[in-house]
Amino acid sequence: MEIKIEKLSKKFGDNHVLKNINILIEKNKSTIILGKSGCGKSVLLKIIYQLIRNDKGLIFYDKKKFVDIDKFGMLFQYGALFDSLTVAENIAFIDFVDGKKNYKNKVINSLKEVGLTADVYDKHPSEISGGMKKRVALARAIYKNPKVIFLDEPTTGLDPINSDMINELIIRIIKKKKMTAVTITHDIQSALKTGDNYFFLNNGVVEDFGKCNLMLKSKNKLMNEFLMGVKKLQNS
């Protein structure tokens, strides 16, 4: 699915979070949205997902203004798994709440896709590790075979090995399922590894955009400051 955002603005009270945003998310490509904390990335993601409304501007989903959000899947920053439900009930939530019971094989296949075994099927989120939670959350996001997957800081809170695993997993799943991906991240390594295109947000404005493989050669001053900041942090 192609998503085109035109002149999108959003404010909360007097705080202009997004100002005149124009973004093209290409079909079956991985688009990365970069930026400092509080620059409006998460708000933008939620507006695209239709979880919150924009004040101005238009969003076209495959050239249409309306979209069924069943075509979307989302991986939240900290997983957002439902504590009171088991791993299986979390993954197959849409079937579980409808009272369907024949989701076992589909859940086990989803677990396999994210590199987990059926051992975790009946466990609760509190009984599995952070890396496993992220994978289960990813399995839930892809369970309904969405056309677009939204990834909010997919590597946050993970050690480098688990981060790398999640990145590999994301690349594999996007390619295999031919999905469009929109990722919010601070993690440049992750962006370079998983992204095709990037947009850099600063104070609610798109400051820079381009191909991910050319990101490090960007001539935008703010983008370079951001990259330098991340680099310094990584070195320290």
Binding site: F82, I94, R140
Partner: protein, 255 residues
């Protein structure tokens, strides 16, 4: 000047909060008739609330009835009216203490749990996750809790009434030396269905108040651990105060 401003701000916040709660109640009645209904989830929640609350309300009932019998004896024995104790115990329990004490205990036991659970779900983005899974979060989170508690409260009060009267009976017969048959006859003959009904109606209203206030505080909690804590405290404090206020007005109606 600053003092007047702060009074004005407090008054405005109070009015705003009342407005938000009224809208919340309106949303509840709107969504209750709007699919999807998550019936299995509703039933599961009702059973959970019911089982987890039985021990606490049983203890509330038995000790209230026992204390009531002892205290009534202290007072009535001063003017030789001990025979009125069965009547006083059953009347006070069914009309007043049963619904109010059950309301306050359930507010602390279930109301706090509802507010804390929903507030935690909000803080950890679980409510956003429900929205992304195309789930009507209001019908999934609020409706089962409000319906379950509103329907469970009359049953709780019936249990408290029965156990409380039993407690009063045990103390009166085995501690104060009442004739057991006379005690039972005085209890059964004196109580009318309208006494029981007034308590049950009060309990239903209290159940609705506790669940609505607790869900509201959970759903609109501020972020972070502090937000969860204050949502829980507010749910219990506001529910308890509203129970006491509504109790007076309902008593006026059934007087």
């Amino acid at each position: 000047m600053q003092f007047i401003e702060s009074i004005g701000a407090t008054a405005l916040n109070f009015i705003r909060a009342i407005g938000k709660i009224v809208i919340f109640i309106f949303l509840f009645f709107r969504f209750i008739f709007k699919p999807r209904f998550y019936l299995r989830h509703n039933l599961k929640y009702f059973i959970e609330i019911f089982i987890s609350s039985i021990p606490i309300i049983a203890l509330t009932g038995i000790f209230s009835g026992m204390v009531l019998a002892l205290q009534s004896y202290t007072g009535f024995s001063r003017f030789s009216a001990e025979s009125a104790i069965p009547n006083i115990v059953v009347l006070t329990l069914t009309r007043e203490l049963g619904p109010v004490l059950t309301g306050l205990m359930i507010s602390a036991r279930v109301g706090s749990a509802i507010a804390a659970e929903i507030a935690t779900m909000r803080v950890t983005e679980q409510i956003d996750a429900l929205k992304t899974l195309n789930t009507n979060y209001f019908n999934y989170l609020v409706t089962p809790r409000v319906l379950s508690l509103t329907l469970a409260m009359p049953i709780f009060v019936t249990i408290v009434d029965f156990i409380g009267v039993t407690g009063g009976y045990l103390v009166s017969v085995y501690r104060l030396g009442f004739n057991e048959n006379m005690y039972l006859i005085n209890t059964i003959d004196f109580i009318s269905f309208s006494d029981y009904l007034s308590g049950v109606i009060k309990a239903t209203v209290f159940g609705f108040i506790i669940s609505i206030i607790s869900c509201y505080n959970g759903l609109y909690s501020k972020k972070g651990a502090f937000g969860v804590g204050s949502a829980t405290t507010n749910a219990v404090v506001i529910s308890s105060i509203l129970i006491l206020i509504f109790n007076y007005f309902l008593t006026e109606i059934f007087f």
